[in-house]
Amino acid sequence: MLSQEHNDTLTRVGPGTPMGELLRRYWYPVAIAQDLEEFPVKRVRLLGEDLVVWKQPDGEYGIIQERCPHRHASLAYGVVEADGLRCGYHGWMFDREGSCLDQPAEPEGSNFKVKVDVFTGRAQELGGLIFAYLGPDPSPQLPRYEAFVMEGIRDIGHSVLPCSWLQIMENAVDPHHVEWLHGRYFQFLAEKQGFTAPGAFQKKHVSTAFDAFDHGIVKRRLLEGQSEESDDWRIGHPLVFPYQMWVGGNGLYQMQIRVPVDDETTWFLLYTIHKPEGVEPPVQDGPIVSYEFPFLDERGHHIVDYIEGQDVMAWVTQGRIADRTAEHLGKSDVGILMLRRMFKENIAAVEDGNDPLGTVREPHEVVELPLEKDKFGAGYAFATQWIDQGSMRYSPQKDALKQLHLDAAIERGEVELEEVDS
């Protein structure tokens, strides 16, 4: 249980709030790069601010407040020029640094433009996503997490969810939910509705452990029947502070991205890389496949017969902002205590003028993160179950992805050809 004040501090992300100031020290995806290839200007929302991102002819990206300072028309209806974005209403033009370069309707020789202030952040492409930074200069490096630079076939499922990003982050340090939400509940639905639920998630948790490291919290679990030598216990996988989680295993790698759009809205992305062992790393040709996955049916009920649909149900039904003054935390929630403390510690770090956890200042090739390879001891079945019974079932390239994992499993001798034919 938290007091209302604590809950407010942890969930308010707008400018000038303590959490908002902390979160503004990180880069966030705001658009899929391919969207800007199709049209070079896009309205976006991040940390409670309405913004416009655009791609210049020289390939650079800019991000600017949505409202034109002239008379507040939306710059999302602006014109992309060689060195900036021009408002569609009266033609005022702004560059990526926030200077007003032109006010074509003003008298010749007028210097009014130097009086005009406009907010701009920084924007950059990485791994097919456009990342934005809204904090103070000098901006830190955009961390090149393995997910965004490794070889393999990429697949991006995404959806805008009506809840605070913190609810989703708390789920990332809640290993027990797996055996219930994706185990028992899945099995219950399967019995009632006549399908087969994936078995990999039904195993009981014997122990869980959480360790802070320089990019967040490593979460480890020991399941019934596993030895302490298992990857799930020995290696685990991390919550990547403050808004991501790196998971995977058995040839799938996934960055789960929870972008705080505002206090009550999250852009949730499942950024998956397929690189099964046993075959040459497959090469991505053409644009990265991205798609929106549904989480409500036509009656407005949650779609709960797939893994992430179950997670979304749990996050969204907690309310836009979960009322933590009425919660009852138990011993199995210690990961959540640890995460809340980590947020408070880093809010304090920023207030004291220090870089918060996970800040990268040095140019680098890649930031590697711990990740188990053999997940839940489930082998090839894990990969196909994840595709068939997770959000990737909505992917336009679902069949090709399954084929890729099957070919690799045959190559590894894990699956016999006859087994597949029959």
């Binding site: 249980m1 007091s3 604590h6 003054t325 138990g330 011993k331 205590l337 809340r340 304090a348």
Partner: protein, 62 residues
């Protein structure tokens, strides 16, 4: 029950007054025991504070 009436007010280590703005106190339960997990911004102390109603000695395993 008003869960806030005994919200820890002072840091057990440095003694500073704990505020909702700067510090952290989260209530959780271990069995029937109510515990506050506390973090003090001033001295970075982190730990659990709980009210003890009855001293329990060694509990033989059954």
């Amino acid at each position: 029950m008003n869960h806030l009436h005994d919200l820890p007010r002072y840091c057990p280590d440095c003694g500073v007054t704990l505020t909702e703005e700067d510090d952290l106190a989260v209530e959780y339960w271990q069995g029937e025991q109510r515990i506050y997990h506390v973090w003090c911004r001033t001295c970075s102390w982190a730990g659990d504070i709980t009210r003890v109603r009855r001293m329990v000695g060694h509990e033989p395993a059954d």
